[in-house]
């Protein structure tokens, strides 16, 4: 059943990569503000397109 161990190994590595991503996100304060981002994404400022564009 070596494929099982192979898959567990790969799954673990993927999980570790996600863990690294998670730690980075926490450290770089991605999640410090858990309200503003939900509102900010609602605003797409209307900018006038120049003629021809």
């Amino acid at each position: 059943m070596e494929a099982l161990f192979l898959l567990i190994a790969i799954s673990l590595v993927v999980a570790l990569a996600f863990l690294a991503g998670f730690l980075w996100a926490v450290k770089s304060k991605q999640f410090d503000d858990d309200y503003t981002p939900s509102v900010r994404m609602l605003f797409d400022d209307e900018t006038k397109n120049e003629p021809g564009k």
Partner: protein, 710 residues
């Protein structure tokens, strides 16, 4: 910081949106055709290219990778630019992504009906297309990652996290599951054998659901529901927890596709436990989506696009409740091999993916064409056609599943099966199959109404190719303070970190794999289990090419009613030479693992020429052409060599004389057919090869005469 002016690329969004609509239509049409074939098998027309075994993979690939795939790209290309306040990094890569993906879809639409298939579900495409998929997927990922690098908004909105996870995981899954040894252009054998192949396949298969049909669409949900309702997501904090919990749990759930099979029990239990845990993040996400609309239900009444999204999220909730339940062994005993699974995936597919795509289209097309939706009324018509379609699709199949399961396992008081003939349990549920096709037709008509509605919208609109936007550039988050540790700069660069992590994953994976493939002693053997003869190998390839595994399993589960019906339950050691495994996942016809020796050769011959001759009422397509189509014995040597490379113990030099054995075995079968009155049989045909394979199945450990009298 200076305000910068830039333009969003709407052109690529438009292209992907059109492709989504086109392939959605095609995929659903093919699905309807397949559904009708189950009731009216003559619809396949007696030609190879349209038989159910080839059409069903065409349907699944079309709706998953063409319809939903293009839907993912549409939503990601639209939302990513706006969330990051920047144009896509490279227009060129966007175009390569688009045209490459469409080319892959066309290649699939051509090769699958021609019978080029690996037989592994949702990974049927052969190796050259697999390579193309990997390249185009990396192009997409690179474009996305570099766009993230060039962003003007420091915070990565939760949707983007879902997109990143999708890219990384799908890449890993696709590569690991596609390890195959090519023997020619468009033919290859899976690296893995039997139980191992099954495990890798369903690790992939389940995560294809998780990371192709779920995570990207959750990202889209977190963008388009707040946008369409114009209110923030119910809880941003919950969305973050939802994301991390979901991706950490999902990747372990694959073995629940193999409950009660020959997979070791502890691996089955692992899959069950993680599947059960998944209900928590899944429902967290569903509630987060639905609660976003709290206090805005008046909007849902008026805006059809919100209605679609509400049903989509509800369907997500239903199927993520059903999923964990189906992972419990006693429930899985009912659902596995019956139509319950089909109903389950269509709640997810039609409800969650389909309706979210429709909702997104109704919102997005008017937006980029700077106009209003042509007709709200037609959108409402679509909504009701679609919803009724889902109901009419799913309910008959649930009914069919319970009926058939109850019939399979019913014993009389004397201890005999009440329905020993499998066919009885099929003809019983045919009315349900017809109703299911009606459901599919309703759903498809809804989609056609949508396409008309959107076409009118596009006509009245004015397409904005490059949409102007303004934002301040990103300040460097970190000011250089002189000497620092080498790793510090890396920590400030998420994308580079992600890329490096991926490289590390791949190196780790390769290091793990190479020894596995090289060490022959890793393969456990049962002494009486022997490699296939070359003719059986050819027959097996016919079986694969025809997609027989779409309707027939080769896995007898250890239940009394199954061992009574089919014979001894399947052992893992019996599959060690099966590259790829052919366990199947649905029994539209009976299990075939113990079919070897059960019927005479002439029975199989007649059954292939016209199934109803041997089994009146059978819904199997006719395979009469097999008696004429020749097999290519020039490939015998390549097949033997490939199998030997994969660890199958053929003697050295056997490939040079294998065709002698082929001819001899063909003659034996022809003689046996002659004896039963079937004359003028061409020996070197697919028919003879397939009979050889079928007669071999499951006989390695079969006790003499065990099932012969039945």
């Amino acid at each position: 910081m200076k305000i910068e002016k830039f333009y969003y690329d709407n052109q690529i969004v438009k292209m992907f949106a059109y492709a989504t609509l086109l392939w959605g239509l095609v995929g659903m049409l093919v699905g309807l055709y397949a559904a009708l074939q189950l009731v009216y098998p003559s619809l396949s027309g007696g030609i190879p290219y349209t038989t159910f075994g080839r059409i069903r993979p065409l349907h699944t690939n079309a709706v998953i990778f063409a319809f939903v795939g293009n839907g993912i790209f549409t939503g990601v290309y639209y939302s990513l630019q706006r969330l990051l306040k920047t144009r896509m990094w490279s227009d060129m890569l966007s175009k390569i992504n688009f045209w490459g993906w469409q080319l892959i879809i066309v290649a699939a639409a051509i090769t699958l009906p021609l019978g080029f298939t690996t037989s592994k579900e949702y990974a049927e495409l052969e190796w050259p297309i697999d390579i193309a998929i990997a390249i185009v997927w990396v192009v997409f990922g690179l474009n996305m990652m570099m766009t993230i690098v060039k962003r003007r908004e420091r915070h990565l909105y939760v949707a983007i996290w879902f997109y990143i996870a999708t890219f990384v995981t799908v890449a890993v899954l696709h590569i690991v599951n596609s390890f195959e040894l090519p023997i020619s252009f468009m033919k290859s054998y899976s690296w893995y054998a039997g139980v191992q192949d099954a495990l890798v396949q369903w690790w992939y298969g389940h995560n294809a659901v998780a990371f192709f049909l779920t995570t990207p669409y959750l990202g889209l949900m977190y963008y388009f529901i707040p946008k369409a309702a114009n209110r923030p997501i119910y809880s941003y904090r919950l969305s973050i927890i939802h994301f991390w919990a979901l991706i950490f749990l999902y990747i372990w759930a694959g073995p629940h596709h193999l409950l009660y099979t020959s997979l070791p029990d502890w691996a089955q239990s692992l899959g069950t436990v993680f599947s059960l845990m998944l209900i928590a993040p899944s429902w967290g996400g569903m509630l987060n989506g639905l609660l976003t609309l709290r206090g805005a239900w008046d909007k849902v009444r008026e805006e059809p696009m919100l209605k679609f999204m509400v049903v989509a999220v509800t369907a997500y909730g239903m199927s993520t409740f059903e999923g964990p339940m189906l992972s419990i062994k006693s429930i899985n005993a009912i659902s596995h091999y019956t139509d319950w699974t089909i109903a389950h995936v269509h709640i997810g597919g039609l409800g969650w993916n389909g309706f979210l795509t429709f909702g997104m289209m109704y919102w997005l097309i008017p937006k980029i064409f700077r106009t209003k939706l042509y007709s709200l009324k037609l959108a409402n018509v679509h909504f009701w056609l679609g919803t009724l379609g889902i109901v009419f699709y799913a309910l008959p199949l649930y009914w069919a599943a319970f009926t058939q399961w109850a019939m399979w396992q019913e014993f009389s008081r004397d201890g005999f099966l009440v329905y020993p003939n499998f066919l009885e349990t099929v003809t019983q549920i045919l009315p349900m199959y017809l109703l299911r096709a009606v459901g599919g037709l309703l759903y498809l008509s809804g989609a056609i109404v949508m396409i008309y509605n959107l076409r009118q919208t596009v006509k009245s609109g004015n397409f904005l190719k490059d949409e102007a936007a303004e934002a301040a550039g990103l300040e460097p988050a970190y000011v250089y303070h002189g000497k620092e540790h080498w790793h510090r700069p890396l920590e400030r660069r998420p994308v580079q970190l992600m890329v490096i992590s991926l490289v590390v994953i791949l190196i780790g994976g390769i290091v793990e794999m190479v020894p596995t493939f090289l060490v022959k002693s890793n393969i456990p053997t049962i002494a009486s289990v022997k490699p296939y003869t070359p003719l059986e190998l050819h027959g097996r390839d016919v079986y694969i090419s025809e997609g027989c595994n779409n309707c027939h399993s080769q896995m007898v589960r250890p239940f009394r009613h199954e061992t009574e019906r089919y014979g001894e339950y399947s052992k893992s050691g019996e599959f060690v030479y099966d590259h790829p495994f052919l366990w199947g996942s649905k029994r539209t016809g009976p299990d075939l693992h113990r079919v070897g020796g059960k019927y005479p050769d002439s029975w199989h011959y007649n059954h292939m020429i016209e199934p109803e001759r041997m089994a009146p009422g059978s819904i199997m397509p006719v395979y009469a052409w097999m008696a004429k189509t020749e097999i290519d014995t020039t490939t015998t040597a390549a097949k033997i060599n490939a199998m030997r490379t994969l660890g199958v113990p053929y003697e050295d030099g056997y490939e040079l004389v294998a065709n002698v054995d082929v001819v001899a075995q063909q003659q034996t079968i022809v003689n046996s057919l002659n004896k039963d009155g079937i004359k003028n049989v061409a020996p070197n045909t697919e028919m003879i090869a397939l009979i050889a394979y079928l007669q071999r199945l499951g006989t390695d450990i079969k006790l003499q005469n065990q099932t012969a009298e039945k």
